[in-house]
């Protein structure tokens, strides 16, 4: 089985990990006119509990 010959330097490790980036969550305003809070699309709103005009979660 192949094994690494040399220890990777901290610099190399950090350079590699500098490309690990977080992406911002997609958010859209809640279509409920009384709410309008940002929420992920296709998911029930956590502020008002509605999805597609229907009460899904108790708030």
């Amino acid at each position: 089985m192949a094994v690494p010959k040399r220890r990777k330097s901290r610099s190399n490790t950090h350079s590699r990990r500098s490309q690990w980036k977080a992406t911002a969550t997609t958010l859209a305003p809640c279509p409920n006119r009384a709410c309008r809070q940002p929420k992920p699309p296709h998911i029930a709103c956590h502020n008002c509990g509605q999805y597609d005009g229907r009460q899904v979660i108790a708030v």
Binding site: A34, I43, H46, Q55, A58, V59
Partner: protein, 271 residues
């Protein structure tokens, strides 16, 4: 080659998967609405709909076939006696899956899966009788009955969220609405959108002290001097514009120029 099963595999073995799906279906028919992961909900849907189809057929053979999946006779009886007839007019599509976002802990995407149709009045009566008898299916009747009440609570909670709206609600009676106090104590049926709203009267006339017309389909409200006022059939009436805004209604887009800035500032304070 046989067609592979659609969707993700659950559990560790075929037996485990079969039991998971059977237990999910049992819970769904017992409670009418369950919260689970999106993957499980998507696997459950075809199984549950097939079982409802058996229930619609309703004969002894169908019942025995369902009994191979749902081992609980009480649940099978509930399925055949109530859920099947409820869907007699519906050609499939008996369940609804709504995603509710990731779970705390393992970030698993969660969903609510529920039977789509609300209970009719006659079935409610049966539910009342079963509740009196102490059946365990009484519970899901109560939740169905409580659902509209929960929506009213939401409206009130939103009003409390927004300081401006809450102030408006407090100000409204002071502004010379003597009827408000009477209506606040009225039942939820009379005030479908909380304080400051009034359900439509049977003859379509204006409830006293509620001059603003609300259209539930378009979610717009119309003030008495609006050109849309006369041609609108109001589903709900509001005491003032603030009450209508709190309930989530808006002015027609053509009339929003003045109020939009004020409304936006209200929205800012809300967030």
């Amino acid at each position: 080659m046989p067609t592979p099963t659609r969707g993700p595999r659950l559990g560790g073995s075929p037996d485990h998967q079969r039991l998971i799906l059977a237990n999910l279906a049992t819970s769904l028919f017992e409670h009418g609405r369950i919260t689970t992961t999106v993957a499980k909900a998507k696997r459950l849907r075809p199984l549950a709909e097939r079982l409802v189809t058996f229930a619609k057929r309703g004969d002894l053979h169908a019942r025995r076939q369902v009994m191979t999946t749902i081992r609980d006779k009480d649940v099978v009886h509930h399925l055949f006696a109530e859920i099947g007839p409820r869907f007699s007019e519906r050609p499939g599509g008996y369940t609804r899956i709504v995603k509710i976002g990731p779970r705390k802990g393992d970030n698993a995407p969660m969903a609510v899966i529920e039977l789509v149709e609300a209970l009719t009045v006659a079935q409610e009566a049966v539910g009342e009788a079963e509740r009196a008898r102490g059946s365990r299916f009484a519970r899901d009747r109560r939740t169905v009955a409580a659902a509209p009440a929960a929506e009213d609570d939401t409206t009130v909670a939103q009003a409390a969220d927004s300081d401006d709206a809450a102030d408006a609600e407090v100000d409204a009676p002071v502004d010379g609405e003597p009827d408000m106090d009477v209506e606040e104590s009225a039942s939820d049926e009379q005030a479908p959108y909380g304080d400051g709203s009034h359900a439509a009267l049977e003859d379509g006339s204006m409830p006293k002290g509620f001059p603003i017309k609300g259209n539930e389909n378009s979610k717009l409200y119309h003030v008495p001097d609006s050109p849309f006022y006369d041609r609108t059939d109001a589903e709900v009436w509001f005491a003032d514009t603030d009450a209508a805004e709190t309930a989530g209604f808006e002015l027609p887009p053509s009339q929003q120029d003045d109020d939009s800035s004020a409304e936006e500032s209200a929205q800012d304070t809300k967030g």
